[in-house]
């Protein structure tokens, strides 16, 4: 019965997002804006999968996922900006020319090519996560300490990205792109294309995470979550496992960021401030951690609510969000999915008097 339910959920999910939404747009019922808004939510959901892996399955609360997300976005943004600059016949992006910089900084150079950009967007977060993870896990920093130190790290990076000297656009971030691989970003079909790619990547990422969590590796991770010392007593190299999942989570965040950028058209350090990094964790908490579906649904739901509430109740959306957080943590610590499960159980318990036989 479990698999049946899952299959149905997948069918429903794919039907709505891969068929219904694009169809709605093509028939003129939905505007292209709706499509690209949902495309952006998918990117968040991809990052949320990573958070679920590291937090939900391994029990490590990493608050620097927002930073990895931004690294991915910034990489693609640098590439797009250089392409736009080249198309305009200039060498330096506008903001650099204003800052009186003569030559393109060395770390911008590789982003001239799309291929290199893709590689670097994945490589930089991975290497960064590896170093940070290595340092932190080796000294057996865990739990709250881990959360606070990664948060502090994000804060430090946020401060650095805010500076103009770092040549990453400062507070303004990077914006004003025109084309991606020659396709104009403003055209509706490109937006639809990006939406479909994001959706495909989300499905792919989900599949990968699903495989990971159901593999031996995934089971070790869950064991680490439940009792790290016992796992290490049984001769598993806990640090290696944690490091691996930390890097995977960083990669997922970066992929989300890479897809996020062309659909939003701007990346600023605001994406990785304290608020943003806590919120990313909240998506997973709300959806249900330790449950991949929950992570995806949480990310989509919270962001959808955020969009709606800021239009409908500008004054009170923070209350709604705040209460949602508190109530979820207090009463539904398995999140939205946990709630659905418990309702379903109660439903089946009352509706079908003989639940044993349906198995």
């Amino acid at each position: 019965m479990k698999t049946n339910n899952n299959t149905l959920l997948y069918i429903l999910f794919i039907a709505v997002f891969a068929i219904l939404l694009p169809a709605g747009y093509l028939s003129g019922l939905l505007s292209v804006n709706t499509i690209s808004v949902w495309g952006r939510y998918f990117c968040f959901a991809i990052a949320a999968l990573g958070i679920d892996l590291i937090w939900g399955y391994t029990g490590i609360l990493s608050m620097c996922q927002a930073f990895f997300f931004c690294l991915g976005s910034y990489g693609i943004a640098m590439h797009l900006l250089l392409k736009k600059t080249a198309a305009a016949g200039a060498v330096l992006p506008d903001f650099m020319a204003w800052n009186k910089i003569e030559t393109l900084p060395f770390f911008w150079q590789p982003f001239q090519s799309f291929g290199w950009s893709l590689v670097l967007c994945l490589l930089i977060p991975a290497v960064f996560a590896f170093i940070v993870g290595f340092v932190l896990f080796r000294s057996r920093i865990k739990g709250v300490y881990m959360a606070i130190i990664t948060q502090a790290l994000t804060l430090a990076m946020w401060l650095i990205f805010l500076r103009n000297e770092t040549n990453l656009g400062g507070t303004n971030g990077l914006t004003d792109f025109s084309t991606i691989l020659g396709f104009p970003l403003s055209s509706s079909s490109v937006k639809l294309g990006l939406y479909m790619i994001s959706f495909a990547v989300l499905c792919g990422a989900y599949f990968c995470c699903y495989r990971i969590t159901h593999s031996k590796f995934g089971r070790v991770l869950q064991a680490i979550r439940d009792s790290e010392s016992r796992v290490s007593y049984t001769a598993y190299k806990v640090v290696d496992y944690k490091l691996a999942v930390f890097v995977v989570a960083a990669l997922l965040a970066a992929v989300g960021g890479m897809l996020y950028l062309p659909q939003t058209g701007i990346i600023t350090p605001g994406r990785m401030d304290v608020k943003a990094s806590v919120e990313m964790v909240m998506w997973v908490a709300l959806g249900g951690r330790g449950n991949l579906k929950g992570a995806v649904i949480g990310a989509l739901l919270v962001n959808f609510l955020y969009s709606i509430c800021t239009s409908l109740f500008p004054d009170s959306w923070l209350f709604i969000l705040g209460f949602l957080f508190v109530i979820t943590v207090l009463y539904f610590d398995k999140g939205f999915m946990g709630l659905v499960d418990s309702i379903k159980q109660r439903f089946s318990a009352t509706r079908f008097k003989t639940p044993q036989t349906t198995h």
Partner: protein, 547 residues
Amino acid sequence: MNTSLRMLMCCFLLLPLFSAGQDSASIYTAQLLQPPADSVRTQAIGRLAALRIPATFPLLMAINDKKLYLLDQKAVTVDSKPTGEGTYRLYSLYPDNTLLTNSSGQPLLLPLSALKTVDIPRGDRLQLAGIAPLLNLFSNDAQKRTLAYSQLKNTGDSATLSILQAALAKETNADALRTGKDVLYAAQLYKATTTANANAYIDSIGDNWSDNAPVLLRNYAKAGFLNQETAHYAAAKAISLEKRYDSLQRIQNFFSGLSLGSILILIALGLSIVYGLAGIINMAHGEFMMIGAYTTYCTQVFFTHTLGIPQTDIFFLCALPLSFIVAGAMGWILERLVIRHLYAKPLESLLATWGVSLILIQTARLLFGDLTAVKTPQLLSGGWQVSPHLTLPYNRIFIIVLTLIMVLFTYLMLFRTRLGLQIRAVTQNRQMSACLGIETRRVASITFFIGSGLAGLAGCAITLIGNVVPDMGQTYIVDSFLVVVTGGVGKLAGTIFSGLGIGFFTKISESFFQAVYGKVFILLFIMLFMQYKPKGLFPDKGRIAED
């Protein structure tokens, strides 16, 4: 009143010098007040400015400040501030400058409407720009006098110098006196003709040690005015002054670090206790600080608007305990409603309290809306002038003292009372303490009350240096967590050491890098530090250390 007396005195002193001009001054003054034509007035002001008779300075100053009025055809001016009911005290201007009194000898108080304003066009007033510094030497605003002295720099003419000397003889403000003397000595130094004489002036300048002294001496040395010897002497003096200045700067930096550190300790103190006891990461801790700050603000509003006692410092004294109680009470409520269900689930508590902090921030925004700031109590504004170049602001001294008291209070509470014993027991082992008959829930809620109250107190203290905005807590929250983590959870000594350490370290790095890099540097340093001390400065030892 003091000033007018002073002016009178100096007018009297200088009178013989200018007696020749005195008669013409009266004529010009009369022309100025009742000009037959605009051109006559322009000319009269020009002449008066050129004559530079001190007796006319009050009048000219009134013109310059646009505060010249006529009362019964007599030129008068008013105080800069009304006495309260919109009436002003009046001063006559020429030939004497005195406070006007009514028949019973009390100061005469009149509203501006009872006076006839004498309008002097801007063009005429501009003629006074040249002697404005001279006029301001006799202003009753010490800052204006200081500025006036410094504007007289590089004037060699003896008439100005004698006016300067006269003004200095009556100077009461230390800052103004120092600036004035500096100008005087400098002029005399440049006039000195013998080495001994020049060296004596150089010494005087050194002893006076105004802000400008090193530059002045260096310039003198560079010019090689008299001979090589004095030039060398001046240069050496300048260097020694700068060295002394640098050592004072180090004290100032040390003080800055101490003050930042004590703010961090004040905030982290409550956080550390609560975290240690209940295993709660209270992201809303910063918001209790905000509540404390708003309590202070409300107290001030209550005192000034409802009770109608402005300009008193009582409100702040009342606000201190109030902010503790209000923030503590809010903390207690929060504990009852939310935290109680989350003991020993630190990560869940992080998320729930984050939600709470969102709610509290938005509530504050809806209630208070604007940027608000608390008026600094008179007692705590300004600074303690340890030496001419070392000012330690009172508000920061106050915060350091408050922190000291609070640390002491917390120490006594934790280590000298029954409650403290219980808190420490619950911190070490919750279940075991419960077995031994400690009401862990009660202990927890009291601890939460105290922890939040301490945050509220910190918020109250912070109104002295910063402003009150709904999201003020967020500025400090990550920093204070770092203090707790570096110091070791629930460790009083650890919190103090790490708070001070981070404070000093930040200030030291700030004097080398810009503020931001200082902060980044700190964060990296803490990460490295945790490599060696993953459980903070003072980790628990023994079996309780491993969970």
